[in-house]
Amino acid sequence: MTTIAVLGATSGIAQACLRAWLGPEVSFRLSGRSPQALDRVAADLRTRGGDTVHVETAVHDLTDTASVVEAVDWIFGRGEVDIVLVAFGTMPSQEDADADPQVAAGLLTVNGSATVLAAHLVALRLLERGTGRLAVIGSVAGDRGRASNYLYGSAKAMVATAVGGLQHRAAGTDVRITLVKPGPTSTPMTDHLRGGKLKLASPDAVAADIVGAVEAGRQVVYTPSKWRLIITVIRLLPRPIFERSRL
């Protein structure tokens, strides 16, 4: 029996991962913010998986310290866990964040410090046990600050640095920690971007990459994989050229 826990289980990428992880010997522990959405995700997994799938859910806000601590306590309080995915996040538009400092602050907290805190607390538990897998959703946006999404990007850069530190800390143990850097993916978070110039990746393709990377214990996975190249080019663009671009 494999037990998989997800923080932010109703996110589009998390749901696709959950469906990819479905199998005869799998048990899920799902934490999310919206009880209605969480119920649908749980019903979906039970219906797809049949009688053999075990799903537990709990509602946690995941926007402040206390609720993150509570969610991690809940996950590990229910018994041993083999794989944890930290997938919660928000993506308000840059315009909304410009107009309201509260929106900007919330974006930084949820995608940055709350995510880092969750990854840190989960890693401590796994290290205590000496084994387990942790995957944290970062973003290609964290690789270089860009005018269109530097607030979101800076929060994800914080996550990348923290995961790097956790990987360092876990070196030599049987704990594997994966930083996932998805390119723009078609999920509820990006519904407002659909139909624009950007081609959004399918959550199923991204999930397949994540599941594979976690299985292999890889440290960083760009998904779809072309984003490793794209972002390398963006990172290497000389400043005068970069500043004339609209990225």
Partner: protein, 435 residues
């Protein structure tokens, strides 16, 4: 967000603003900004899922409950039949009705009341639906079934999304022992032989005739008649294969022309050497041969194509079908995908297409000659008391529609009663006078 969309036939193309709800509440909220039409995977051929505002339901993709005691599956409307097959076939369950592609949503299957090769035995899709949740024009979400708001149920099944937005559907799956189908193929040298073979095999669960519309004279209506039953061999592993080929771009001058189609048809027909063959095939090649080629609709080139499917009542006899086939064959317009089937009795829904009779499905590259031929065929079909399938239509006149769908007035009454007027409309419904 604003974009351009088209149906599977790639004609017509319209400007649209797409809303993609992830919750029922978000779907209801989208009604505030003006009239719209719901859309799933966009496999209807013409303009029935097109409108200046479209509600893309593919974000509502959760399975919600399954009861192995009854076979009843409840799911959100954006779930595809492909998902139903992938998840339920390994456990021995199959959709009760499947059209020629599995990439349709359950909501779309309800709105079009789709039919398959088993219509003569098991009716159309909504004959297996027990209840639905429908978002009305008033913003209210109601449960409807044969007993709860039965008028709404009859109008919504086959109602092309014009009574409300289907959000959730409960329907009955059928138990199967195999992913495979035992298929019998009869080589019919002409139309009479094809119709005889269809009649002879009407005890089979699935029957269909593939007609070579380019054969003329004494070979007019030359067909392969296929009959199938779910196999009993216990092999249930779903063919999770994605499309094995893809048409990557619009073919500049359409690849489908009289020469290539004729060659293809001759080869297809000649491939089957014996007059009668039996073999076992997977469910994908049996039900959805074209799904193996992603975006096959691009083969017709940028201008798209027109599907034409009619049904004429049994009483009118097979002469109407014969005459239609003769005219298409005489016109020499490439139509590689012609399918003939004998429908069983229709149901009590106001706009459902199937009715006891002969149905013929053709497609043409969209051009003036094809439209002229369709106009001619319209006359033939209407005179015989038949009708056209809305899901494949992009060109029918409001007069033809009113003449051939006698329960249109009842349908309009239901729309008025449930607040649908002025809220749900498609490019097709506006063309046909339902607004």
């Amino acid at each position: 967000m604003r974009t351009t969309t088209h149906g599977w036939g790639r004609y017509p193309v319209v400007e649209t603003e797409v809303h993609r709800p992830r919750t029922y509440a978000a779907a209801a909220a989208a009604l505030d900004a003006g009239p719209l039409i719901a859309r799933g995977l966009g496999r209807s051929y013409g303009d029935s899922s097109l409108a200046p505002r479209q509600l893309d339901l593919t974000g509502l993709d959760h399975l919600l409950a399954f009861d192995p005691a009854t076979g009843l599956l409840t799911c959100e409307a954006g779930v595809s039949l492909a998902t139903v097959m992938d998840t339920m076939l390994p456990r021995g369950w199959f959709p009760p009705v499947t059209p020629g592609t599995r990439y349709v949503t359950v909501g779309g299957a309800v709105a079009s009341d789709v039919h398959g090769k088993n219509h003569h035995k098991h009716g159309s899709f909504t004959d297996h639906v027990t209840s639905m949740k429908v978002l009305l024009g008033t913003g209210e979400i109601v449960e409807t079934s044969h007993t709860a708001h039965p008028d709404l149920f009859r109008a919504t099944c086959g109602g092309m999304g014009l009574t409300g937005v289907v959000l959730e559907v409960t329907f009955r799956l059928i138990p199967v022992r195999s992913k495979n189908v035992d298929e019998t193929v009869v080589k019919a040298p002409d139309l009479t032989a094809a119709l005889d073979a269809l009649e002879e095999h009407d005890k089979a669960t699935y029957t269909v005739a593939w007609i070579d519309l380019l054969a003329r004279g004494s070979r007019l209506g030359r067909s392969l008649v296929m009959a199938g039953e779910h196999a009993e061999d216990g092999d249930l592993a779903a063919d999770r294969s994605a499309a094995s080929a893809r048409v990557p771009f619009d073919t500049p001058s359409p690849l489908l022309n009289k020469v290539t189609v004729s060659a293809f048809n001759r080869l297809y027909y000649a491939r089957v050497r014996k007059p009668l063959t039996h073999h076992t095939v997977g469910y994908e090649p049996f039900f959805h041969p074209l799904d193996a080629i992603a975006d096959w609709n691009r083969l017709y080139g940028r201008r798209g194509f027109v599907q034409y499917q009619f049904v004429t009542p049994l009483e009118a006899g097979s002469d109407v079908v014969r005459e239609a086939i003769r005219r298409v064959a005489d016109a020499g317009l490439a139509s590689p995908l012609a399918v003939l089937k004998v429908f069983g009795p229709g149901n009590d829904n106001h706009l459902s297409f199937p009715t006891a009779g002969y149905t013929l499905a053709l497609d043409f590259k969209a051009d003036q000659r094809a439209y002229a031929l369709c106009d001619e065929l319209d006359q033939l079909v209407i005179a015989a008391g038949g009708r056209l399938y809305l899901t494949k239509d992009a060109r029918m006149s409001p007069e033809t529609f009113a003449q051939s769908y006698p329960r249109l007035a009842e349908f309009e009454d239901v729309r008025r009663r449930y607040g649908a007027v002025g809220v749900f409309a498609s490019a097709q419904s506006r063309r046909l006078g339902v607004t």
